[in-house]
């Protein structure tokens, strides 16, 4: 589903290269974990997948279902089925959360040639998804993410993911800022989305989240490259021994 080939990318503003020859393949139905120390390029990778303009791909390609997405803007990628759960979701005053959800869902439906959702059907879907994440509907009456706690923001991201039903989900440090109860709720939310036609990329610093979202593959990112890949036992190994051993082997 996702194939990243020899990807090189840099920050547009100052030209700093962050991704330096990254290769990664994630198949439909797979849950892939991307781990790595701070500064290894994990968040940058998630932004590049979503199409953030602050980064420029200088070499290599990103194929989604066999087609390059480099020329697609963030909205086109999203309607094609790519979803990024942000590490730091933006607070946007003045944009009502419900209005935002409705516009996002209907814009995606429009791009796929589907009719817009009728209001009762829309409300039903939001209520169900919110209930499954233990979210209060009153929260959704507020402006988008404004005044939400860190944990509420993360839940709101997963809520959007459930409602938009993407094919490729990228979760950037979704565990950060969550207490253990919230972590379980969020992980359950992600697990219900596991399906044979959907791939999930979980970016995380710690193994903790992977106890709840058990990955099929684990990849270690360091200095903008995948330096080691393995199964879930690799994550346990990293937890026990730290990144130093893996980095040492690769050097």
């Amino acid at each position: 589903m996702l194939e990243i080939r020899n990807l090189h990318a840099r920050i547009v503003d100052d030209g700093t290269e962050i991704i330096r020859g990254l290769n990664l393949t994630v198949r439909a139905g797979e849950v892939a974990a991307i781990m790595g120390p701070n500064g290894s390029g994990k968040s940058t990778l998630s932004y590049i997948l979503a199409g953030r303009e602050d980064y420029e791909v200088t070499e290599g390609d990103i194929l989604y279902n066999g087609q390059s997405i480099l020329e697609m803007d963030p909205a086109e990628r999203a309607t094609a089925g790519i979803f990024l759960a942000f590490q730091y979701p933006m607070e946007i005053p003045g944009v009502a959360t419900m209005e935002f959800l409705k516009v996002a869902m209907n814009e995606q439906r429009k791009a796929r040639g589907q009719e817009p959702l009728k209001i009762p059907e829309f409300l039903k879907r939001v209520k169900e998804a919110a209930a499954s994440l233990n979210m209060d509907m009153a929260m959704l009456k507020r402006p988008l993410n404004v005044g939400f706690s860190g944990g509420e923001k993360k839940r709101a991201e997963i809520l959007q993911m459930k409602l938009l039903e993407p094919k490729l989900c990228v979760l950037d440090e979704t565990d950060s800022g969550l207490d253990i109860d919230a972590l379980k709720i969020v992980a359950d939310g992600v697990n219900t989305l596991r399906s044979p036609d959907r791939a999930i990329v979980v970016i995380t610093h710690y193994q903790r989240l992977l106890q709840y979202i058990v990955p099929d593959t684990v990849h270690v990112l360091y200095r903008g490259q995948v330096i080691k890949s393995g199964d879930k036992s690799l994550a346990l190994d990293l937890e026990a021994n730290g990144y130093a051993g893996v980095i040492g082997q690769a050097a």
């Binding site: 199409g51 933006m90 946007i92 005053p93 003045g94 935002f100």
Partner: protein, 422 residues
């Protein structure tokens, strides 16, 4: 003998002076009113204000008012529906008030032409200063409008909409409202039309003790019209006024706000939205006098600037010497969406009391790119996402009004502008 040279008159100045000569015999008014008109035209003969007059520095009326259309009494202004369904409507069509209106309990309405003829409005025609060009223009030519009296204790459950609808040519209208003690009302002042008109419109509001009024100015002139407007209010003891101004049209627009708190405990709230597009000039100038102790005011102006539009906000707050415990806060935020647009902000605080809380702030920003990315990452295309963010910027101010029918009505006007200019 004083010797001084008068600069040559502009076409517009000449046209106004000539028009006065032609209109004079048709204008209603007793002797007192006619004296006020004479004074007013003398002021205009002295020349329209230029940038050398401080309060007109950013709006050089002499230079910007390039032409003055003739009066067109035969023109027909098109009636429009009120912004809130079920409102009582008092229309002024092409400068002429209606002789008939549906009665509203507690509300007495008089045509302004009658108040001019019998002279009872004469004291209200005084200008408030030597730089009061809009007041002078209006006093010279005003022919009609309404005088509305809302009785003590009256509670209006539906808005009262005062419409000033032009049909080209010139219209000079005055809308005077007195709100009795403890009365409560929502008043909509609608300024619109279809012609390349010169409009002057002066609104006067007197709030009695404990009266509460929300006054909404909805200005949607075509981009061929010059709209010169003034809103003057006196706030009595413990009265509350929320003034909301939406400028969403006009080629050359100046909306002056002249407010004085005359009773202790009075509260004034100004919220303004300027939606600026094309090659237009829009100026909102406020002079607020905190004249007695224990009064409060807040002002928030939000501007969206596109195309080659130019905008101005001048906010002057005078806190008089005895006006202790005044609390005043003013903010002006601009979203600049084009390289050719501009917005000038001039806050002025003149404080003669020593125990007050006063502050002001101004910002100019572009669309936040991280916000745009976030919305687009959810599949919302760039144009729609930008629209959402721009609308959010101004909608915040509307939502503060906290009255569902009004918020919906104003958001509909907002959508209307975005459809035309998005």
């Amino acid at each position: 003998m004083n010797m001084h040279t008068t600069p040559q008159r502009t076409l517009a100045e000449t046209a106004l002076i000539d028009a006065f000569g032609e209109r004079l015999s048709l204008l209603p008014g007793d002797g007192a009113v006619m004296l006020k008109r004479d004074d007013a035209i003398e002021a205009i003969k002295g020349g329209l204000p230029t940038r050398r007059i401080e309060s007109w520095h950013y709006t050089d009326l002499r230079r910007l008012l390039t032409s003055v259309p003739d009066f067109d009494p035969a023109a027909v202004a098109k009636a429009i529906a009120p912004i809130v369904e079920g409102s009582s409507v008092l229309p002024v069509l092409n400068g002429v008030s209606s002789a008939k209106w549906a009665a509203v309990e507690g509300v007495t309405v008089q045509r302004l032409s009658e108040k001019l003829t019998d002279g009872s409005i004469a004291p209200g025609l005084d200008s408030y200063g030597s730089d009061d060009a809009i007041g002078a223009l209006n006093t010279a030519f005003v022919a009609d409008g309404y005088f509305v009296d809302i009785a003590d204790g009256a509670q209006l459950d539906k808005p009262l909409e005062l419409q000033n609808l032009q049909a080209g040519g010139q219209t000079h209208v005055r809308l005077a409202v007195r709100v009795g003690a403890g009365a409560n009302a929502v008043i909509v002042e609608r300024q619109a039309g279809e012609g390349a008109a010169l409009v002057s419109s002066v609104s006067q509001l007197l709030l009695g003790e404990g009266a509460e009024v929300t006054w909404l100015v909805v200005q949607e002139q075509p981009d061929t019209a010059t709209h010169l407007a003034q809103f003057k209010a006196h706030l009595g003891k413990n009265s509350k006024l929320t003034l909301f101004i939406m400028n969403a049209g006009g080629k050359l627009v100046r909306q002056e706000v002249v407010v004085k708190t005359t009773g202790e405990g009075a509260e004034f709230t100004l919220r303004g939205i300027n939606l600026l597009a094309g090659d237009t000039h829009t100026d909102v100038t406020m002079v607020l006098d905190h004249a007695v102790p224990h009064t409060a005011s807040t002002e928030v102006i939000r501007n969206v600037v596109t195309g080659k539009a130019r905008g101005v906000f001048q906010g002057r707050i005078n806190v008089h010497q005895y006006a202790q415990k005044t609390n005043a806060k003013m903010a002006c935020n601009t979203l600049l969406l084009s390289d050719d647009g501009e917005f000038s902000t001039k806050p002025e605080l003149e404080i003669f009391a020593d125990d007050v809380v006063c502050g002001h702030g101004a910002t100019v920003t572009e669309i936040d790119h991280s916000h745009l990315f976030y919305l687009m990452a959810r599949g919302i295309d760039e144009k729609t996402a930008r629209g959402l963010l721009v609308k959010a910027f101004v909608a915040e101010v509307i939502e503060e009004l906290d009255d569902e029918a009004i918020v919906e009505a104003l958001e509909a006007r907002l959508d209307n502008w975005f459809v035309a200019h998005g």
